[in-house]
Amino acid sequence: MNDIKRPGQGPIGRRGMLRATAGLGLAGAATRLAAPAVHAQEPVVLRYLGTAVNQSAEIATKAKQDLGITIEYIPVTTDDVIRRAVTQPNTFDLLDMEYFSTKRVAPSGNLQGIEARRIKLFDKITPVFTRGVTAGGKTLGDQGTAPKKVQFLTGRNSKEFATSPTEWMSLIPTTYNADTLGIRPDLIGRPIESWAELLNPQFKGKASILNIPSIGIMDAAMVMEATGQYKYPDKGNMTRAEIDRTMAMLTEAKKAGQFRAFWSDFNESVNLMASGETVIQSMWSPAVTKVRSQGVQCIYQPLKEGYRAWATGFGMPRTLEGRKLDGAYEFINWFLSGWAGAFLNRQGYYSAVLETAQANMEPYEWAYWMEGKPAAQDIKAPDGSLLEKAGTVRDGGSYEERMGRVACWNAVMDENTYLIRKWNEFIAA
């Protein structure tokens, strides 16, 4: 009952209503416990809200087979995931969202802490999330909203993040990876080694960054550092002066016509590169793979300054309870148990529990995707289409090489409001 005293319960603080609901919730739960048989026959249906990144029909089919749980996908845009999470937690049962968004969703009180001890493979979850190091012992850069900063809550109904591991997790990681510049080697014709190239006037009208203000500015910050103009204490959490300075550089580039367009989603980033509208832009690894599978040369270019990483994970809405809650735990446990992880690894993402995923992949697949070795045979996508020919080596090398060189994480800054204002100014400039 302690939750009702906090201000700003969701965007509409109808505290009276919530008090009533919370009080009567216990009674309701008791009734449910008393009559479990009534519902026992109905299969659990989980409404799964998220971007389409992890929403594969194959995963839903397999989950249905293995667990009898029906997964109902609700694919929406990144923006809508967060808006729905904050305003309508009752319209979904499972949330698949980006780690940096937890900083915006958790304060709304709409997330419930996930009990670590109910996650069977909790101990096997890669330390990237819990401690910020790779399994091989490399320490990741923790600028920005690094997962370890928002991984744990101080309690089940807490809105605050714990600084050290607790029993309550905000999200259970699903996929993560590191972004860098994607380039068209056929159209550039020389090696690219630094983030500085993004704003190189040579690529005027052929460059692009992400249309998400808090991430687009980090791409710019990478450039700023690469050109030696400024060194940020934390690129993912700038001061107002730093924001001003970075946006000024971006504005100058925009006015000079450096950018062709900003990309908003996976598909757009692929289309811009594949069609030759851009030749250099920040990009996801699977998006580069996709461009290449269309017969267009494209490289996921490791850069000396390192990567900007991101991660997504499952969250549970506060309103989830009863059999659905049990179902959600069951599904998450299944998700971590290997089949789904292998499925995602084969698309170029990284899964949360590596050991179980490895057990579900062919050794040659594991060697190609995770160990950075040349493909022993053709690499196929989950749908059977050819991704890479035998002999290819994955850009950026092994898992350790990639994740070990993460410089910063996608972020929401403390000066978020100020950033948005500056971003709108930048667009209007």
């Binding site: 967060i82 808006r83 598909n267 069609s275 509208e277 409001t417 709108n424």
Partner: protein, 308 residues
């Protein structure tokens, strides 16, 4: 009389017949009004209420304050004559709205004229209308993606232009430019202009045109002095459609402008995507006020409700 839509007659002077059943008007308008109450007024009130709340550290607190509005107009007065973001954004939005309006008006009018006066059978008119509608049955999400292969550097248009030797390098400004934004607006909204104008034209009595011709008026004179005045309500209604939609647009400006062109709708969208509901709501309120003023002025020029 030529087809069902064409029936019109002599105007009964000013002595508009008194219509009975005024009480019925309430019943007839009630469902319509109720729907807007439930799904527009109430949600809008909720949103506006939010615009007065305080927002910090990702938490919304219900508390009456004007921070959101203050933030919107920060530096707008004291920094004149250089434009603040809000003013610059409104100016840019207004400019696009006027460009889109001008093109859709001319194009929509000409096509409505063609359909109303040159195509004579109603089924044929319907068929041609449907022909214009079919592209809109392919989701806009798909069509927006398709602008890249159409107008991009390696797109159909550039290939065609280079193929016939009109240009020797791809034209960059076909996509992600002000041109492409206006082009997409014209593509999307000409139909919105065309339909009301067409309906106005359908009410014009043919004998009126013949009378004008018999009296020695040239076709331009007939157009200017007879057709256009009689089409004014249709023109105003079409203008309301185009202006209101373009003023609040963010999708088209975003995608076709490469996300680099400002519009007030886009500002609101960016703010909403970062859950800054108060300032987004405040922006929406100001936008609503300004556009309503525009519409009010338009309907002062031509009262579209007078001659119903």
């Amino acid at each position: 009389m030529d087809g069902a839509g064409r029936v019109s007659g002599v105007k009964v002077g000013d002595a508009r017949p008194v219509r009975r059943g005024r009480g019925a008007a309430y019943w007839q308008a009630a469902p319509f009004a109720l729907l807007f109450l439930l799904f527009f007024i109430v949600p809008l009130v909720l949103t506006v209420a939010v615009s007065f709340w305080r927002f910090d550290d990702y938490v919304l607190t219900p508390e009456l304050n004007l921070d959101a509005y203050r933030e919107m107009f920060e530096g707008c007065i004291d920094r004149l004559p250089s434009l603040c973001v809000t003013f610059a954004t409104y100016l840019s939005t207004l400019r696009f709205a006027l460009m889109a309006w001008a093109v859709t008006l001319v194009l929509g009018f000409a096509i409505a004229y063609f359909l109303a006066f040159h195509v004579r059978s109603v089924p044929m008119q319907m068929a041609l209308f449907l022909l214009c509608t079919v592209p809109f049955w392919t989701s806009n999400i798909i069509r927006m993606v398709a602008w890249v292969p159409l107008l991009g550097r390696n797109g159909l248009v550039n290939q065609a232009l280079q193929g016939v030797g009109a240009t020797d390098a791809p034209l960059d400004w076909l996509l992600y430019s002000e041109f492409s934004v206006v082009l997409a607006f014209v593509h999307l909204y000409t139909l919105f202009m065309m339909v009301p104008i067409f309906n106005s034209m359908a009410r014009i009595d043919r004998s009126l045109l013949e009378a004008a011709r018999d009296a020695g008026a040239s076709s331009w004179q007939t157009l200017w002095n007879v057709v256009i005045p009689l089409c004014k309500p249709g023109i105003v209604i079409g203008s309301i459609f185009v202006l209101t939609i373009v003023m609040g647009d963010f999708v088209t400006v975003g995608i076709m402008g490469g996300q680099q062109i400002a519009s007030i709708g886009k500002v609101i969208q960016v703010q909403m995507s970062y859950l800054q509901f108060p300032v987004a709501a405040a922006n929406a309120v100001v936008l609503l006020g300004i556009v309503l003023l525009m519409i009010w002025a338009l309907t002062k020029l031509v009262d579209i409700r007078r001659e119903l």
